[in-house]
Symmetry: none
Subunit: 253 residues, 2 copies
DNA sequence: AATATTATGCTCATTTATAATCACATATGC
DNA sequence: GCATATGTGATTATAAATGAGCATAATATT
């Protein structure tokens, strides 16, 4: 490992939003702390990190615009857990679709499976996943919605028709027994429909606040859903309603 | 084994994401370390790689952190100017293809035209452009190459076939009168070909170090090119050779 | 507030890689 | 044939990267 490679990796860790510690980096790269300090010093001189006592943090707004992250802030810890649960459903060798969205975004950081293929219509997620050596990433293409960074529309749907995958993780803004899964944008809804048609097994990921909500555009009815991954604040009575319709409800690891 | 063959092989190793060591390359090719160093030096001057103490690494895994690497990346200022010139070619209402790559990436920040549609296969560029209200962004989709963050392959080509645009800005690693435009990766070359077929007018963007270089995979011949945007270090004699073949050469604003 | 703990900057020594030579061989053009 | 250019290998002084030791500075604990 060259000094430059090490610095690039450190820069990546920091720009991913993680803060780093000198001691940890030294262990991770198997070099002395002096070396790590020198790395951080040169990186700070180049301008993109901010050193702290004990390590370093990012000093710029990371690649994703604030509005995108602001959204993520709401229910962030719940979404994080949901992401972790969903990632655990992915096995070695799987082919998977991951929808764009603030909740599905969290799945990426917890994927441990090797040798998997992921199709996604999320620009930031595709970027993140493509840094992993164990994941082949395919994007759907399509028009980008500027606020969600989702690739949608006929192009995305055409791409999805070319594939057949094991599992699809779909986000939704509303879930109800009567109206199924819904989302505000009709084009995005169509893209989600195409994802569902492409997958053998359909997982809906949505925090508990989305239940008993109905938004504008229809994605699918409850019977089309194999499994809903949500957080533990969903009441047992509510969960049972879905279970009686044959939908698995998972609320914890 | 010719020197050029050796360089091409080294370039391929690096563009596959591997880092290379001078000592290993010397053993592998059965030449002295001096020779390997000379190879790497010339490759670095051509902007293809980033040398390190002991070897070299790829210089293209850096797209989301431009400010950190700008100083380290060779020809950054030239690429910046080229990007500015290219952006000036885009008029209000145009439909445009922008290829992935370190040079084309610079086009994004200078686009001033309103009400335009941009098709791109670059993940970071699509992200950046989608923040602009005046630009409709469409991505090609496809497999992501982890080091360049380019979406390539049959999916990308299929998407491109659905459209017809006014202008395409294509990057290339080598340009020569005899061999036309070339690039190291054959799948990426095919995607570039599809872009060229989709566009009425073809612009090649490449700094002057790319001239009289030939890399592995063929993109298009000189006669397929309408205009080459490069920097002012290209000699007038060289430029005239292309002009005589009907190619516009632009080296400054 | 005093003290303990931890992190830092600095210097130095060691290892390893590099640039700058020179020398030699092999093409290329006149 | 001769001059010139190009590619290569060997040599060596110079430079870069690293780790260790230690006094000083920053944080944590009592």
């Amino acid at each position: 490992m060259f000094a430059e490679e090490r610095k690039i990796k450190i820069a990546k860790m920091i720009s991913d939003g993680k803060s780093v510690r000198v001691s940890e980096l030294a262990k991770l790269f198997k070099v002395s702390e002096s070396t790590i300090r020198r790395d951080l010093m040169s990186m700070e001189n180049h301008g993109n990190i901010l050193r702290t006592h004990g390590g370093a943090v990012s000093n710029v707004n990371t690649q994703f615009e604030p509005s995108f992250f602001e959204k993520q802030e709401k229910h962030a810890d719940k979404k994080d857990t949901i992401g972790k649960i969903a990632a655990g459903m992915i096995n070695d060798g799987d082919t998977v679709i991951i929808d764009s969205g603030t909740t599905t975004q969290y799945i990426g950081k917890y994927i441990k499976a090797k040798n998997i293929t992921i199709i996604t219509n999320s620009v930031p997620l595709s970027y993140e996943l493509s840094n992993s050596e164990d994941i082949e990433v395919i994007t759907t293409g399509g028009m980008i919605r500027s606020n969600t960074k989702a690739m949608i529309g006929p192009t995305a749907e055409m791409t999805l028709k070319q594939f057949r995958v094991d599992k699809a993780f779909i986000g939704a803004n509303g879930i109800s027994i009567e109206c199924g899964a819904t989302t505000p944008n009709i084009i995005e809804a169509n893209t989600k429909k195409a994802m569902i048609e492409t997958s053998k097994k359909v997982y809906i990921v949505a925090d508990s606040s989305k239940f008993n909500e109905v938004t504008f555009a229809f994605i699918c009815s409850v019977k089309d859903i194999d499994c809903i991954i949500t957080d533990s604040e969903l009441s047992e009575e509510e969960a049972d309603k879905y279970r009686q319709l044959g939908v698995d409800i998972i609320t914890r690891l």
